[in-house]
Symmetry: C3
């Protein structure tokens, strides 16, 4: 089993199913304690650096809340502008300096591989909070946790992933994790934004059940849970094509009610318009609960990495 | 009586005199404890989001200090630039996400009604820290508290409000509150920046004693306390008019010494030049003590809203 | 002896040798406690403002970590943009307001004398975290502490200071402190960037042993410790001169190995290229440990100033 204590958390592929089951069990325990208003001080005296070299209020606040709910404290920054990077310092030197101050580093950086580079020079564990088009493992963990919480299990369920599957960091980290859990996958995207062949080839080798489609309605009908992501206009060279397609990848209340009223809907947020707001009040609309789960999963991960559970 | 516990704090008009007496009594108790260096942990384990969609160091630091003095912790941001608003997210979605993380939201936003909108979607209580030209109820509360602390009472005192009464958010929130406290009001402003008729009409209906004048010296002579605010150049279409008037609305030491040496002077800060700096050392210059009172009043409000007193 | 409790920390010249020995002893005690994972709450209930009117992630994070490791909490800002300075408020008014909120102020500001100005109006102790081309006393303290930790003593050692000695704030604060400790100094700089005559004149009067050279290799050979700083291109009117000189002031591994393998190397960081990265893995490369020492020294200073040790 993965030795969480003292380890860097860089990539979804680091974890086996038992590792993730353990993480989710701890997260669910913390959820109960938070909802029960228990004051926790597992991490009193521990300092985490939240180094956000690009803005991400959502992920930053989630990590900071997680650390503080455990009784720990936080230092950091929320954009690269105010850092020594502006004075010509290398990432490696910045990390090595902050590493002298703190017990744990959570970071987001626009460059692929930056978290691994940081982990290579820091003594403190590094948690990757997103490295550009690379990985975002805590998002994948909280997505899986939400599926488990909402459906009560993972084995045998059908999860549809919809949106820009070609470029989506979240879905790439996700499939590295879902594949262990007996989850059938449906990839829903316009032809131009289908899951890359290297991903689907790997899934085939690993014997993961999946199908691909351009038809959101068909996927809604079949899926137990639908993970919506945004289709970004800037990915299309042909704007007319974008305009034609985008309507086909918007989830509406009518669609859910007529095709699959029990559908559980997830979204990494922020959304723009790919889930109509009248879906929000449906029982299966889980995307804000998913944001909440992010705090519990990050609490669990921080506590495990610091050797406190 | 107002049920503070679990409530949103949006508007000065929400509160009756007993509500505000209760708040001020708690604030004064907290003042004593802070001055006595007592460590408080009423809010240990509680997390507040300080969401400042526009910069306001003063109000943000005051809220954050208040929360930390109670033993709680804070996450947040100090400008909208680093938020998902930049990615096209609605205010409602931003608030609903943060609401999943924290126990309490204090916010400032440039749009009138934004705090009410946030309160409409958040489960956590929302405290309005200023919504554009709308309300700023905690400022009004701390102003009242300062009058009470400085003069020992509110009934029967005369409070002059001077400056841009037409556009001033602070004074509009203030009159909603002062009217319950037996305070006689003097409105001092250039003709063009007088208190709007809808405000004065309402005061007449409610039987509040007030008068209007363009003569600061006359007001200084009559008042027990003077609340100075800034006259903003940009409000004048005729700059010559501005230049002519502005001198008439600057408080000097000479004016106070010759007309009313016991005058208590308040100001929401930051000031530019509407109170000469040689007033600062006078016994009645209460504006920095007023800033201090802001922490105690916000501590009281947070503790009441969280059901901890 | 200097009365730390309640005092402002503005300038290296405030301290005698016993003052600094005391500070370093406390810092070393805190180092042991942190390395032993002891949770400290000496400053529970105490709030520090970290007012950074210009960005300095390194110094800000070091102060904030120090405060939090002592159990205290922090409010503040990391650039002047989001402050009331933008609304025309004077530094004095900003400080007097924040002074009402907190128990201690740590600040950085681009103007020489700004920390002294702040100390003049604040009741809370002010710690100067750098005032433009003026002083940066906590940097000088942590540099001295690092020399003592690395070499086990200060008396009789030879410390070479290399770089822009004419303009370097760090080295100017440093000599105010090193002179008490029986340290022989070597100043290494291009002719144009030599230590100013007023500094060397003062050292002569005080009987401090020093020499000046333009030859880095000679200094490396003689020194026990070398304090490298950056030579800034913008200081040269003649760029050809800069290009010619800069190579002569870059420390390489080959230089250290061939001339003085036991050399202890310091640097205030961030570095650009004045220490080659292959020096980093040498036993004497102390610059990241120096950053770590900064937290312990600031913890000691904060605890002393707050009267908690």
């Amino acid at each position: 089993m993965f030795q969480f204590k003292g380890s860097d958390i860089l990539h979804g592929s680091q974890f086996s199913r038992p590792d993730l089951e353990c993480l989710m069990d701890v997260a669910d325990d913390f959820r109960k304690r938070v909802e029960d208003h228990q004051v926790m001080d597992l991490l009193r005296g521990t300092v985490m650096a939240a180094l956000f070299f690009e803005p991400s209020t959502r992920t930053r606040l989630s990590f900071e809340t997680a650390m503080q709910r455990l009784g720990g404290s936080v230092v950091g920054f929320s954009s690269a502008e105010s850092t020594s990077v502006a004075k010509g310092e290398t990432l490696s030197d910045t990390i090595r300096t902050v590493d002298q101050y703190v017990d744990l580093i959570a970071m987001r950086h626009p460059a692929i591989g930056s978290a691994a580079e940081a982990a290579g020079v820091a003594q403190a564990p590094v948690i990757n909070g997103g490295d550009g088009a690379g990985q975002h493992p805590t998002q994948a963990m909280l997505d899986l946790f939400t599926v488990r919480q909402e459906l009560g299990k993972t084995d045998g369920i059908t999860l549809a992933l919809c949106g820009d599957l070609k470029n989506g960091r979240t879905v790439h980290s996700g499939v590295e994790i879902y594949k262990h859990f007996g989850i059938r996958l449906i990839f829903v995207a316009p032809e131009a934004l289908m899951m890359p062949a290297e991903v689907t080839d790997r899934l085939r080798v690993q014997g993961v059940e999946f199908e691909e489609t351009t038809d959101l309605e068909a996927a809604v009908r079949k899926a137990d849970a639908l993970y919506m992501t945004r289709i970004q206009k800037e990915r299309f060279s042909d704007l007319a094509e974008y305009e034609r397609l985008k309507g086909a990848f918007i989830l509406t209340r009518e669609m859910v009610e007529s095709l699959n009223p029990r559908l559980v809907t997830l979204h990494p947020l922020p959304r723009v318009n790919e889930i109509a707001t009248d879906v929000d009040s449906m029982a299966g609309a889980a995307y804000f609960r998913q944001a909440r789960n992010g705090v519990f999963v990050r609490m669990a991960l921080i506590a495990l990495v610091m050797g406190k559970v």
